[in-house]
Amino acid sequence: MSRYFTSAIIENIALNNNHNLLTLNMPEGTVEPLPGQFYMLEVNRGTAPLLKRAFSLFRRISGGFQVMYRIKGRGTSLLREMRKEDTIEVLGPLGNHYPVPPEGEAPLVIAGGIGIASVFPFLNNYQGRASVFYGARSGDEIFMLDELKAMSKEIFISTDDGSLGTKGNIVDVLNNFLNSNRSDINNYVLYACGPHTMLRAISEVSASRGITAYISMEEHMACGLGACLGCVVKTKTGYKRVCKEGPVFKSEEIIW
């Protein structure tokens, strides 16, 4: 089984002006990805940019997989230029994954912006079980809403500008939900991916309410294999590698 392979682009479509959905083929004999894992993708053939870029698994499809990405810098701009049948080198799946929610648990899934990409396969695997809290800057950055609705028990949307769902912060929406659903508190577990500040807020929710939270962290990364020690986060038991011991951590482990 190989975790390093050449992949042909099946599709690279724009979701809006700065978000794309990339579909890659997955040759026979490659390792099956799990929700929360990620891939390192080559974005060009030259040496600038030099490093591969890390992207969460968005969806496993027949014969391939998808990643959803935000065009943010040079690497993702180059990736956007990739066309059908272009080939890229792929390393993965890498890292740990979201734990399997045990029977009776009520997962609360929180996504901020492009963080939806990481939690999407989790929702897909455990259809109908999770309450989803999805926040973004505006309505045109809320993606796959129909599919998310179909996969989840219920879904709450918030946007910074109020163009879709509640105006404001998704963690506030989560807190309101928890305030009005206190009887179920022992069954809740949080699963979150999003900006650093959101994850920190989730960690506070977890600590103050005594709800376990699994959060997917992001850091500058070079190798993805645990060798360069570049992508560490500070935890109560020392620095841990996002690419190896993570990207999914229990929020109580992290020193913010």
């Binding site: 390093y4 030099l50 294999l225 992508c231």
Partner: protein, 303 residues
């Protein structure tokens, strides 16, 4: 065809090594690389005591390169011996341990401890770290200090001793000579070049530690020049490194004066880089009718 090269007492089956800090403890890459095929595995730098390393961000990409300030994070010599050596012993390759200290005494003690370990074949001294006894100047930037610390380590080890040189000096050949005079069996060069990158929006350094070490193809011409210069100055073998991405780059170092080469940053981009480079070197030898790889060392024609 003969790919064998000698580094001190070590006979390497071929000249392709890994650069310390880019290949973990070997385990991390064993899924992608048959370690048996490598000339040597040089593991992540070790110190007597475990080191936590620097705050993040620790790495930042730069044009054709990257800056890192990992801060020499490592598990310490004791845990390395207990947890990592058993794995490495399963392979038929030379294992070289990179090590460093904050003081001369720490270097000596580290070398002494490592020299009693079964399954280790060589030591690589990283002298690019600050000398706490001498106001944090770098061990590797003063030839007298280099001579002193290498001599002290030499007395404590019979293993092949390689000194890894810092390029952050005016004349690297002087440093190489000091290491040779102190009894080093070989020198490896270059370590990373000190660099810096700034986020112009926040006006903050892109690395938490402000400065970092530059590696990758951006530094290759500097490294090639330095190998060329050191070759003129010393008789001991040179292990050349600095931005080697493919076999052409590796051959450039050999021709400049290196007996062996080490692959570093390329491992981060292509986990199979070492093996692809080895295969490419074999191709080169076939194409050019070269029988012994060592016959190419230092054959650059500058006339």
């Amino acid at each position: 065809m003969n790919l064998e090269v000698c580094i001190g007492k070590l006979k390497l089956k071929n000249p392709v090594m890994t650069a310390s800090g880019t290949f973990g403890y070997g385990e991390e890459y064993s899924e992608f690389v048959d370690l048996n095929r490598l000339g040597a595995v040089v593991v992540k730098g070790l110190s007597l005591m475990p080191k936590e390393g620097n705050p993040t961000p620790r790495i930042v990409e730069t044009p054709s390169g990257m800056l890192n300030s990992i801060g020499l994070q490592n598990i310490g010599i004791e845990r390395f011996i207990k947890e990592k050596i058993p794995f490495l012993k399963r392979f038929n390759t030379s294992v070289i341990v990179n090590f460093f200290g904050d003081t001369k005494e720490e270097y000596v003690e580290a070398a002494r401890m490592l020299s009693c370990v079964d399954g280790l074949h060589g030591l690589e001294m990283n002298i690019s770290c600050p000398n706490k006894q001498a106001g944090w100047s770098i061990f590797g930037t003063d030839p007298k200090v280099t001579f002193d610390v290498v001599s002290a380590v030499r007395k404590k080890t019979n293993l092949t001793l390689i000194v890894k040189l810092s390029p952050n000096v005016t004349d690297i050949a002087l440093m190489a000579k000091a290491a040779e005079d102190a009894g080093a069996d070989a020198v490896s060069l270059i370590n990373t070049l000190t660099g810096m990158a700034i986020d112009i929006q926040t006006r903050k350094p892109k690395l938490a530690n402000v400065r970092g070490g530059l590696s990758g193809p951006a530094i290759r011409p500097i490294a090639v020049r330095m190998v060329y210069e050191v070759k003129q100055a010393v008789k001991i073998p040179i292990i050349g490194m600095g931005g080697i991405m493919n076999s052409d780059d590796a051959m450039e170092f050999i021709i400049a004066g290196a007996t062996a080469v080490a692959v570093g940053t390329a491992n981060f981009i292509n986990p199979m880089a070492t093996i692809e480079i080895l295969d490419g070197m074999i191709e080169y030898m076939k194409k050019h009718g070269i029988e012994n790889i060592s016959s190419l060392t230092g054959t650059v024609n500058v006339t």
